[in-house]
């Protein structure tokens, strides 16, 4: 297997992008990545797209060809492939691209993730809920928030995690986002505001839930030898693993452990030859604040049940030992569903290159965790300088 490097990254602004169409958003991320890599475009040999639900958000399928077309690549006739794993679609696209380069099949490929959710108005959340079991969860009136809320309630009961702990995750991520020009919410919030926001699904409140956003992100990957021709600061992908679990929360033996995350992380650490403590910066899937606490535990940053201590002690703050979600995370940077996994890769690359501006942290290794639904799919990617 060849070593794979990130040679270019790009991302659109995240948020309610009323003026931009799906095509506009993807294009802005793609062009930024090409410019960043110093490519003209024709060097690309293949394209991988993470997109959860073009069909329901846009009434548009055949997303891969559409994106290749509007990215100006139609006449290159390169293979373009869309992959889907709900809000882990981006993570899957990254992994497909990685495998394509590592295997020697392609030398330079682009992986993108994109979603345009605001055109369907209030239906957006219901569409995201199809990330869970439509027949046996959604049918009963369970929303994605309510499923995470049940995890949160159990976590509180089993381990003494408090609503304040969850709120602190939100406060931290909002604070980080003020330093990210691409973020959706660039405004600090107080603990009081978070704790007094209306309930979405008890015990989760508005500020425990990531928004649904429009957005796109792209990374260009190349084999190590080719990467050196294009950049002096290649960031290497030392592992990119993926795992799955029961689709429905109720089927899982341990409701407080995302086995997909545990398995993907274990494989990734092994492949990268590092341990959890070697991770210097991480972007994790905080679709709900409780998910970030679970991520601390399932990624091995904390023991099971002790995740909340990391946020209480500031370990995961920007100036902490393992800064988590320096971009603002899904909560404050925005959650553009299929784009999220790629956006996380962009952030980690910028951090490892030293190009993260005011939110720059010091790290050798970075990790990105992308989760689909309530944990039925997880991808863990480890980046290194």
């Amino acid at each position: 297997m060849r070593r794979v490097a990130v040679i270019g990254v790009g991302q659109s602004k995240f948020g309610e992008l009323w003026d931009s169409s799906f095509r506009d958003i993807v294009l802005s991320a793609g062009v930024e990545a090409l410019e960043d890599a110093g490519l003209e475009g024709k060097e690309l040999e293949a394209m991988y797209i993470g997109n959860m639900s073009g069909g329901r958000y846009l009434g548009q399928e055949h997303i891969a060809a559409l994106i290749a077309d509007y990215a100006g690549l139609a006449e290159l006739n390169i293979p373009s492939t869309r992959v889907e794993a709900a809000d882990a679609s981006g993570g899957l696209a990254l992994r497909q691209a990685c495998m394509a380069v590592a295997s020697g099949m392609h030398d330079i490929v682009i992986a993108a993730g994109a979603e345009k959710v605001t055109d369907v108005g209030s239906k957006a959340m219901e569409i995201l809920a199809s990330a869970t079991d439509r027949e046996w969860e959604v049918f009963t009136g369970a929303t994605l928030a309510s499923l995470y809320a049940m995890i949160a309630r159990l976590h509180m009961r089993e381990f003494g995690t408090k609503p304040e702990d969850l709120a602190m995750v939100s406060v931290k991520n909002h604070k980080n986002a003020t330093l990210n020009p691409k973020a959706q919410f660039r405004r600090e919030i107080s603990l009081e505001v978070a704790l007094n926001s209306p309930y979405v699904a008890e015990p989760l409140r508005l500020f425990d839930c990531a928004p649904l956003s429009d957005g796109a992100a792209a990374v260009i990957l190349a084999s190590e030898d080719i990467a050196k021709k294009y950049t002096d600061t290649p960031v290497y992908i030392s592992a990119c693993s993926q795992a799955s679990d029961y689709i429905a929360l109720h089927s899982r033996k341990d409701l407080l452990t995302m086995q997909a995350v545990v398995h993907a992380a274990r494989q990734a650490y092994e492949q990268a030859g590092i341990e959890a403590k070697d991770v210097g910066v991480a972007e994790v899937h905080d679709s709900f604040t409780i998910a970030e606490i679970l991520a601390y535990e399932d990624l091995g940053f904390a023991k099971k049940g002790e995740g909340a201590e990391l946020i209480r002690e500031g370990v995961t703050c920007l100036d902490g030992e393992i800064p988590v979600n320096p971009s603002g995370g899904l909560k404050a940077c925005g959650h553009a569903v299929g784009a999220t996994g790629i956006r996380q890769a962009v952030e980690i690359t910028l951090q490892l290159r030293g190009e993260a501006g005011k939110r720059q942290v010091d790290a050798e290794n970075g990790l990105a965790l992308n989760v689909g639904g309530t944990g039925a799919t997880a991808t863990v990617t480890i980046f290194t300088r």
Partner: protein, 129 residues
């Protein structure tokens, strides 16, 4: 979505699930392949008693369009006495729900396909103590 609902009527109107005769595990919602035994699965239908216990729950305030009139409503993870954990609506005042509460099945309406469409009936739970 009419055939899709119709197909599962038996399993929704009552707690009809499956059991693997090879390992003894029971499944609701029904599975046609046992995740423990896989190829060695020996699946048969099984009716659950309908009694169980609340493991966790959430009071839903931000509801899907079709359920807005019913909010706030309670969604719960219920451990059936035969073993499986299921997601269901719990017909109970939000302030009276608690973890560990004993519950039993109830036949209720879940929704309908618009005003002129078919009605989705199914199993919910009610307090049993």
């Amino acid at each position: 979505m009419l055939p899709r609902f119709w197909r599962k009527i038996k399993y929704r109107y009552d707690l009809v699930g499956t059991k693997c005769k090879n390992c003894g595990n029971s499944y609701y919602p029904p599975r046609n392949l046992c995740p423990v035994c896989r190829r060695k699965s020996d699946i048969a239908e099984m009716k659950f008693s309908g009694r169980g216990e609340v493991i966790s729950y959430s009071v839903v305030h931000e509801a899907p369009e079709d359920l807005k009139a019913q909010k706030p409503y309670v969604v719960a993870l219920i451990k059936l006495e035969e073993g499986p954990v299921i997601t269901s609506q719990l017909v109970c005042d939000p302030e009276n729900v608690r973890t560990g509460m004993r519950v039993k099945k109830a036949f209720r309406k879940y929704g309908e396909e618009g005003e002129a469409g078919i009605i989705y009936y199914g199993t919910k739970f009610v307090p049993d103590e």
